[in-house]
């Protein structure tokens, strides 16, 4: 048997307070093979992956044995002095939120060339580095042209930023790649394209460690799967052998009569399905723009939200879902149209009074920056109840602790600063923070995309509980399977406008708009892909 490129034996990691994060993990990675590391959030996936780079979070102690190529990265006494040598050139890491990983002050071409020159085997001069950087860009499916190279990261869309980050990683020419939750927050169509590209990348040679809770992606890409739970390997083998069976496709579209009337000329969320009661939150022909009026990112979107109701919002990336959420939350101020709460105008966030702030709460994805890095998570979650509901600090802490526990964030974890929590744990804390306001309207923007199935389930259960207390929920998601479960009605956005609106089951069973059909097709393809990976060379949506 040949010596593997990367070998991890009995790796352990302990947090500063002595908690074991990783307890004796073994791992082998070989060139050209994809190893998937799966498990619930907080199970030690990222800690294990970073150990390959000889990196550990603040206060985390590693021990065991990690060998990368010929270099010992982690030894019995922790990270070795040689570890710095493997970073980039031998093992390169693609972080979960690539947007944060790009330097806002540097042109991408300059960074790519710099990285290529840094890791080129024997120099080769500036031209060689340029050629390498162009090749990396091409491999990441971006055109290697001068105008692209001269752009700054903020001039790319979210999906493209992911490609730029991938190109930076590839420019180092690594022998092994670590991909941390690629595809988080991308819509189904873009995610399918990304999966295809990663498969092509895997065939081109490097060993790949894939960290993911997206079982469909793992099935499509991985040769070996290692399941982590609470820092221990609980199963390993091929994805088919280890992962639970894929859910049966549920997108059987019915044909025939519409129970709720014929197709409308102009789709509009009139909320006619439930004529009882006045709307709690109403938006009437909402327009929104960014820098210049007229270049609208939302046009003429109307919606009604009643107490206890859940309205879903779906649509491809860039269709205006998040802008809609931010309008309702009062964070997007460049808007026209009416926004009414209980029939009274709802101003932008800065002009909302305490009660209005309490009544409308917003949870979004990628919440890390919304936490103060110096205070404990539980304090920050509890603060909502103090500020918006006038609880005493002790009462608020008690409520916050109970809620976090319900979401699977134990008190000991919550007592740490946000930097010591995993992405999924923080996401749940952000949800708890909003839920603690006992809002009347809760806007959830992709809040389960960073969560594994089991944790997402807990969040959903709480959403349903909130609805029994007459909280209205606006649920924005790419995941149509979850959508079927939670949403009463569904709005499909496309290019900033309302493409379709109606009862959720009806819209997904008998779509009337092209946008909805595209979403359903992408979902279906994603479910089929678990067998052999089709080498279809579809168009690559550039964001």
């Amino acid at each position: 048997m040949t010596r593997p490129l990367i070998e991890v034996r009995r790796l352990t990691a302990h947090a500063a307070d002595g908690t074991a994060l990783v307890r004796g993990v073994d791992l082998r990675m070989e060139a050209g093979r994809v190893t998937a590391l799966v498990g619930p959030s907080g199970s030690g996936k990222t800690t294990t992956a970073l150990a390959l780079l000889g990196e550990a979070g603040a206060g985390v102690r590693l021990s065991g044995h990690v060998r990368v190529g010929e270099t010992e990265v982690v030894g019995a006494h922790g990270i070795t002095a040689h570890a710095a040598g493997v970073r980039g050139g031998t093992v390169a890491y693609l972080p979960q939120h690539p947007g944060n990983a790009l330097n806002p002050a540097r042109r991408i071409g300059a960074v790519l060339t710099e990285l290529a020159a840094l890791h080129a085997p024997s120099g080769g001069g500036r031209n060689a580095s340029r050629a390498l950087s162009r090749a990396a860009l091409e491999q990441a499916q971006l055109p290697p042209e001068r105008p692209v190279l001269r752009r700054f990261p903020h001039q790319f869309s979210g999906g493209q930023q992911q490609r730029v980050a991938l190109a930076e990683v590839l420019a180092c020419g690594p022998r092994a790649l670590v991909l941390d939750e690629p595809g988080t927050g991308l819509d189904t169509v873009t995610r399918a394209a990304l999966t295809r590209e990663l498969a092509r990348l895997a065939r081109s040679g490097p060993a790949i460690l894939l960290l993911s809770h997206d079982h469909a992606m793992v099935r499509a890409l991985a040769d070996d799967t290692v399941v982590l739970e609470a820092g221990r390997v609980t199963a390993r083998g091929t994805p088919e052998a280890v992962l639970p069976a894929a859910p049966a496709p549920v997108t059987v579209r019915e044909s025939g009569e519409d129970p709720d009337g014929g197709a409308k000329e102009h789709p509009e969320d009139s909320g006619e399905e439930r004529p009882d009661g006045t709307p709690l939150l109403q938006a009437r022909s909402l327009f929104a723009w960014h820098r210049r009026r007229g270049h609208n990112v939302l046009h003429d979107v109307s919606l009604r939200l009643r107490a206890g109701e859940c309205v879903g919002v779906a649509g491809p990336s860039g269709s205006g879902k998040t802008t809609l959420a931010r309008c309702l939350a009062g964070l997007h101020e460049r808007l026209g149209g009416d926004l009414l709460l209980d029939g009274a105008p709802l101003p932008a966030l800065v002009h909302r009074d305490r009660e209005q702030k309490r009544r409308v709460q917003y949870v979004w994805q990628d919440v890390h920056d919304s936490f103060d890095p110096r205070r404990t998570v539980i304090d920050q979650v509890a603060r909502t109840a103090v500020r918006l509901r006038g609880r005493t600090v002790d009462q608020a802490r008690e409520e916050a602790g109970a809620l976090l526990c319900e979401f699977g964030v134990p008190p000991r974890t919550a007592a740490r600063p946000p930097g010591a929590l995993s992405g999924g744990e923080l996401q749940r804390a952000a949800f708890a923070r909003a839920a603690l306001a006992r809002p009347d309207v809760l806007v959830c923007d992709e809040i389960t995309s960073a969560l594994d199935a089991e944790t997402a389930e807990r969040v959903l259960t709480h959403v349903e509980h909130l609805r029994t207390t007459r909280t209205a929920v606006l649920w924005i998601s790419h995941d149509l399977r979850l959508m079927r479960r939670v949403a009463d009605r569904l709005l499909v956005l496309d290019g900033g406008g309302l493409a379709e609106a109606g009862a959720c089951a009806r819209v997904l069973a008998r779509p009337r708009s092209e946008a909805t059909r595209r979403l359903l097709d992408a979902e279906e393809r994603g479910q089929r892909r678990r067998t052999a990976l089709p080498a279809e060379a579809g168009p690559h949506p550039m964001g």
């Binding site: 970073r87 980039g88 972080p95 939120h97 330097n103 806002p104 002050a105 710099e114 903020h154 180092c172």
Partner: protein, 315 residues
């Protein structure tokens, strides 16, 4: 970049126009005019009226503004109402000293602050960081006049190393007698450097803890390179903005230092002109200082924009 620069400069020109109107309006609000100041109780009202007419003070304000603006554009700032010499001469004489003080201060302050800011930012919480933070906090909190007097007491009076005053010196002497500059510049540096270090330190800290610095480290970028190529451009942004504000303060607000060291600078000239109701000089000096402030801010904005182009988007 070019478009952004053009837009920013056009905006600055508009601001400058608005500013000249404001300067004119505000100075015409000053109680009394030069005629009142020049003459005393014994002069008859008729004489004052004649003088007003000669000086053009009886014209309507709009007309006076247009005349003034037209003259300014041709480089003529008018004649001093009190001394009779051209205003441009007074301005040139007084601004020279101030500009020299501000310039020397900036040339020393920026590199010192940049290096100390970077170093303390990299070793936040370390001994050097705590020392520098304590010293800058203390220096930044001491009022200028206290520091001035303390320095004069020690270095001029007690030790006799440095001259304590500029009385008798002209701007030309400064180049041959740099000792004159030491104490005033030291006082100005105390506050300037303290504020700048804190901004550069905060910028460095923010950039070092950012996702992109972490990713650069993970991709094997060595430490020095990381600092200079990846961290510095982002870390400098708050410092550059602070520098523009400091520049404003240095040009317009060094009054205390000028007063203590008897520097014949812009602030002294301005106070003198206001006291004698020498409106043309007040207008010319105010406008010049305002224009300099505008220029500094435009320059800072353009530098920030080059360092971190996202600044524009965020606005």
């Amino acid at each position: 970049m070019a478009r952004h620069a053009l837009r920013r400069v056009l905006l600055a020109i508009a601001q400058l126009t608005l500013l000249s109107v404001l300067v004119f309006l505000l100075t015409s609000l000053l109680p009394g005019d030069a005629a009142d100041v020049l003459f005393n109780d014994k002069t008859g009202t008729e004489q004052i009226a004649r003088l007003r007419h000669e000086m053009g003070l009886d014209q309507p304000p709009a007309q006076r503004f247009l005349d003034w603006a037209k003259d300014l554009l041709t480089g003529d700032a008018g004649t001093s109402l009190t001394g009779g010499q051209p205003v441009s001469g007074i301005v040139a004489h007084s601004v020279g000293a101030t500009a020299l003080l501000a310039g020397v201060t900036a040339v020393i302050a920026v590199p010192v602050a940049l290096v100390l800011g970077l170093v303390t930012g990299c070793r936040a919480g370390g001994r050097l960081d705590r020392t520098v933070t304590a010293v800058t906090l203390a220096l930044g909190s001491v009022p200028d006049f206290v520091l001035s007097l303390a320095l004069v007491a020690v270095f001029a009076l007690k030790l006799g190393w440095l001259p304590s005053t500029w009385i008798g010196a002209t701007t030309g002497d400064l180049l041959t007698r740099p000792g004159l500059l030491v104490l005033p510049v030291a006082v100005l540096l105390a506050r300037t450097v303290s504020q700048l270090i804190r901004q550069f330190r905060a910028g460095t800290l923010g950039a070092l803890n950012s996702g992109y610095a972490q990713q650069a480290r993970r991709l094997g970028v060595p430490r020095t390179r990381l600092l200079l190529r990846h961290v510095l451009p982002n870390a400098a942004v708050p410092g550059v903005q602070q520098l523009a504000r400091t520049g404003d303060a240095l040009l317009g607000g060094v009054l205390v230092v000028e007063a203590v060291f008897a520097v014949p600078g812009a602030a002294t000239a301005l106070i003198e002109a206001v006291r004698s109701r020498d409106v043309p000089t007040v207008q010319a000096l105010t406008l010049l200082l305002a224009a300099a402030a505008l220029f500094l801010n435009v320059a800072a904005d353009l530098v920030s924009h080059r360092l971190s182009p996202r600044v524009e988007v965020l606005r």
